[in-house]
């Protein structure tokens, strides 16, 4: 019985994760949980008192508006981290990718297994956040089940291109900047904390082409049972586009680097 190569590569990442998951799994949803409490309850109390809130938030309370978006942002955050230093390490420090390349695995299979793993990590973390939302009556819904694959897809839309990019780097000096000037701004301006219609007009279209906005919309609509099929397909198609392009680039970058 043979197992697909990408799954066997995924297994090796999982084996490693088993040794660190205790210290890791909690950390991956403590942060969203704090945002949920701090912003959702604190800022929410202010927002919900305002006159324009019901119209802007589509009739949701601020807590209801914010909470599902955090599932998507968690997917993004985890995936971004998984695709920077671990990718550099696989080439330079632990040299795992080189070890894999010496086996029958091809660069394409090595990348596929990695990307599969990165989406698993995003799924694990977003499951944690979704489980927390299930504790609150105002966000408890069957839609939460859907948010996990949506968040994983959102994460992958970041992981695949970032992995491709990280694989071309000789040094990791630029990685903190990626998080600071790429991921954190998206976290703040990607529509999780307020509707992107509140952004300046020039910024709104930019926010809407980033993967995060699509992920946030998917999760929010799913939780509140208002996800139209056409919208879902549209959002998923955009995210899938990022994944496919990123993955193709990652395969090329891995093949080049491993053959050097």
């Amino acid at each position: 019985m043979s197992t697909p190569a990408a799954v066997r590569v995924w297994e090796s990442h999982f084996t490693l994760y088993r040794t660190i998951w205790r210290s890791n799994v909690l950390g991956s949803f403590v942060q969203p949980f704090l945002y949920l409490l701090g912003m959702g309850l604190g800022v929410g109390a202010l927002v919900d008192r305002g006159d324009s809130a019901p119209a802007l938030l589509d009739g949701l309370t601020y807590f209801q508006f914010l909470a599902p978006g955090l599932i998507a942002t968690t997917g993004m955050m985890i995936s971004a981290q998984e695709s920077l230093w671990p990718v550099m390490g696989g080439f330079k420090w632990q040299r795992t990718f080189h070890a894999q390349a010496a086996s029958p695995l091809s660069p394409g299979e090595i990348t596929a297994g990695l990307v599969l793993w990165q989406s698993t990590r995003a799924a694990i973390a977003s499951t944690g956040v979704a489980a927390v939302l299930a504790l609150f009556a105002s966000t408890r819904s069957w839609g939460l089940v859907l948010t996990v694959p949506f968040a994983a897809l959102t994460g992958l839309a970041f992981a695949a291109p970032l992995t491709a990019w990280a694989a071309t780097r000789e040094r990791e000096l630029s990685f903190p900047s990626i998080l600071r000037f790429g991921i954190t701004p998206l976290f703040l301006f990607g529509g999780a904390f307020y509707p992107v219609s509140q952004l300046p007009d020039w910024l709104e279209p930019i926010a809407k082409v980033t993967p995060l906005w699509h992920g946030v919309e998917l999760c929010r609509d799913a939780v509140h049972g208002r996800l139209a099929l056409a919208d879902a397909i549209g959002h998923c198609a955009v995210l899938a586009g990022f994944v496919v392009v990123g993955w193709v680039l990652a395969r090329i970058a891995f093949a080049r680097r491993l053959a050097a």
Partner: protein
């Protein structure tokens, strides 16, 4: 068993490896037969590792023809790698995992069933004398032990060909001997070993046949003994004079033996009879601080062929 038994496991004809304008391997011809232990000997930058990476089917050949198990790496890399074990120059172990998990994980890359991986891992750890460390993490192990884990890992797919890129570089003498002993055992069991080294003693210990590489080219080929016989007289007289005076003192002893090499720290005199050469030195009234007669080694062959020492 795959293919013809008489067919060479590795056949390279005029193989070239270029990185941009830099020529790392400059047209080498090599043939390695089943059961043989073959070495690439040379200093850093001679092109040994580039050659190994081509044979390992991770780095494509720029020019020339390379066949491994009779197959072309460009089209059958996967199949070739499935039948090969690789011990890379730098350890690539997952330090957080246990010794056994490292082996099992690697076995999975070859699509071996998990239970089979475990069975083989235990067997191989027995072989590299690390059975008692199977469940400890890799991180705290010594350099020599990690190297043995890497060797065990490379054997997990029961390879027909084992590639070792500088297997003992950076290890202390005792660890090297333990490793040599294990590799020698493998060789006796009929394994085909291909290794690179810049250590003469390693090449002499392990290789049935070797090529000496320098600047991407093969400058000599043969068994260690043949190479020494062909390229160096039987004995070497090593003379040490006070620092910085070697050049002038060498004149005092010129003409003794077949030829001489003046190194920064000593003068080497190549002769059939080292003791006789030493008598002649004394006879001429030259008084080195120390004198030593030893047998010729591959180090001398290398010096003869390239005019340079192997390890700077």
């Amino acid at each position: 068993m795959h293919g013809d038994l008489d067919q060479p496991l590795i056949a390279a004809r005029a193989v070239v490896k270029r990185f941009g304008d830099f020529v790392a391997v400059d047209g080498i011809d090599v043939e390695v037969r089943r059961g043989e232990s073959f070495g690439f000997l040379g200093p850093n930058g001679a092109g040994k590792s580039s050659t190994m990476r081509m044979i390992g089917c991770v780095s494509p050949v720029s020019e020339g023809e390379l066949r491994i198990f009779g197959l072309d790496p460009a089209t059958h890399g996967k199949q070739i790698r499935a039948r090969m074990g690789v011990v890379p120059q730098l350890d690539q172990l997952d330090e957080q995992l246990t010794v056994r998990d490292n082996l099992v994980m690697y076995g999975r890359y070859f699509d071996l069933p998990r239970a089979e991986c475990k069975r083989r891992a235990d067997e191989l750890l027995e072989f590299v004398q690390l059975a008692d460390r199977a469940d400890s993490r890799v991180e705290p192990l010594s350099g020599g032990m990690k190297r043995r884990v890497t060797i065990a890992r490379a054997l997990i797919n029961d390879p027909e060909l084992l590639l070792l890129d500088e297997p003992t570089t950076g290890l202390d003498p005792q660890a090297r001997h333990v490793l040599w002993d294990r590799l020698y055992r493998l060789k006796q069991q009929g394994a085909t070993l291909v290794l690179t080294t810049h250590y003469m003693d390693e090449a002499e210990q392990l290789c049935d046949r070797l090529v000496v590489m320098d600047r991407g080219r093969i400058v000599a080929e043969g068994s260690p003994l043949e190479l020494i016989r062909t390229h160096s007289p039987r004995e070497v007289l090593e003379l040490r004079y006070p620092a910085g005076t070697n050049e002038e003192r060498a004149i005092e002893v010129s003409g003794i033996g077949h030829r001489q090499e003046v190194l920064p720290d000593r003068v080497l005199i190549y002769a059939d009879d080292g003791e006789a050469a030493l008598n002649e030195v004394h006879h001429r009234g030259s008084h080195p601080e120390s004198a030593l007669v030893r047998r010729s080694s591959l180090e001398d062959v290398f010096l003869r062929l390239t005019g340079r020492s192997l390890v700077d």
